[in-house]
Amino acid sequence: MTPLPALAVVVPLLMAAAISALNPLLRRRRRVLDGAAILTSAAVAVMLAVIMVKAAHGEVIYWFAGFRPAHGAAIGIDFAAGPLSAGLACLAAVLVTASMTFSWRYFERVATYYHVLMLTFLAGMTGFCLTGDIFDLFVWFELMGVSAYALTAYRPEERGPLQGALNFAITNSVGAYLSLSGIALIYGRTGALNMAQIGAAISRHRPDGLVVIAFLLIITGLLIKGAIVPFHLWLPDAHAVAPTPVCVLFSGVMVELGLYGAARVYWSMFGTALGHRAAITGILLTLGLLTAVLGALYCVRERHIKRLLAFSTISHAGIFLAGIALLTPLGLAGVAVYVAGHALVKASLFLCTGIVLHRLGSVNESSLHGRARHLRITGVVFTVAALGLADLPWFATFAGKGWIEASASVRGMAWITVLLILSSALVGGAVLRVAGGVFYGLGDPPAEDPQMAEQSSEETSETVADKGRTPLTMIIPAAVLAAAALAVGLIPDLGRTVQAAAVRFQDQAGYNAAVLAGRHLAHPAALFPAGDSGITAASVASGVGSAAGALVLAFLGLYWRRLPLLRRGFEPGAGLGGPIRAFQSGVINDYVTWIVAGVACVGGVLALTLR
């Protein structure tokens, strides 16, 4: 058993402890600190890539402290990494490396705390992806959470980061405690904490109230992290105020990890036991599509660039959940590739926003209009990434979305394609509007948002406004990530490989055999058959459609004042006023109320449909 899975988690933890212990020495040696952090995360990325390749032939199973299972009962903790799990963790490590490289020049002065927290964040994410034990999942979830709360409040001298961090910490903690209740509940029935063992134990009988409610509670915490409506309210607050390199990680992988956790819990534990596939698909699909459309609508009215990108993350999280809800391997493969593509373009967009903040000292779309014309390379990278976000062929996002749509038609739900195209077009339109207005000075600046005037003073404290050239360590990661999103989409035979990985992820019996008996199935079989993963004319049409729709909406957003039809006081997005603003109120009591109401609704529906 090669120790790589253990080392992938332990190496960043040891490095974080070392940096903290050597703080007095390292305080003055900023470059040593940065270099150590970048090398550690790059090393972790390489380790995880190796694990991913090995896992393609069978899950990589690692038992800690040598306690192997006996008679189908596990007494220790295991890491059970399939190719999708290891791939997601590798993506996280790649984004951490890019962020740390970006931070090289972005922060003029930074304490060692930043590097320590980023490394513990990375370790938490890696552990979360690789683990096969439900309580271990909770522990890494909390480590991810605590590091994220602290990183959000990195500039406590401003009001916004404190509100964002408080709302983030309180809502996600409530979610974590609800998940823990679910874990205790399922432990009370099965007496096990190993996912494979639990799955085998509860599949033997028909699901009763306990199994359904345990599923509900465990999923709730993960969906709160995954920013699904109505649990999403913390995300815009946290993203608007966290330092830009940290936002890269939040939007790029942290939210997606919540959804991965939900999928993992379903496929490794509850899938076979719960049955009622149509009901599960219905519930998750409804939540996902609602999130996708609502997030897109919020996105259109936003003028704060980072908050705009945050709402677009919510919208995409909804699309990912919709893809997972289809329960097919093609759908899951589509989500996996879409997550990768989205992470790369979103990271690139945030890094470009960071460059704008560094050079011009603002992220207010209205006041930045036309001022970034001299940031030519940044402008090109931003626009390319925005087109990637709008699912233009041949980006990875286009490929992923195409497979989700193909899978939906196979399951007789082709109508969701319309909603997916609509959300992508709205989101892409908003981001392209920013690109056109800020970097090219097209059209008219959007109406000033009175709230923005207060917020914009906060941004200048994050980085020093620099009048010179954009440093290479800032523009190169942004450009490389955007290019990578296109490169991933162009990989030949990507669909077949990823779909094989998805089949393995969905085969509960095969997973059980691998973990508890050490037998790897050469041909895993999922619930639904594997679909055709080629690029079809329909998917190209959909990709071109959403990109074209995005361009049209961006044009409307920039030029609406000059168009004869629309001049009568109709600003795109202005009509979505009162109730939508009231929903995102910023008051923590409201957020907790919506969580309780949301859980009760989902619970009620599950109780009625899964008896």
Partner: protein, 114 residues
Amino acid sequence: MAFFPFVVVVWILAVGLYGMVTSRHLMHLIMCLIVVQSSTYVLLLGVGYKTGAVAPYFFDIPVHTPAVDPVVQALALTDVVVEAAVTALLLAFAIQAHKRFGTLDPHELVQLKG
């Protein structure tokens, strides 16, 4: 009687969440979060209890005496530490929030909305 501890679990959860939703002071809200966590401890320890069994410490009793479940106790121990850590962090946020906003009323701690 066999079900009563679990009713207590739900009650503690309800009380804690009620406190959070109606709270007008951040310290009170954080304490209510701790109450919510406590319901999890009661559930964990309640699930592992065996009537008539002893604590799982075999220092001075024979090894095969029926004992309660040690795993949930270990889990509860882990949870206590996690909760203490999160609470300390939240209290630090609260101190800074008081300095920046001048108040600890959650309804006033709003810089970003809409």
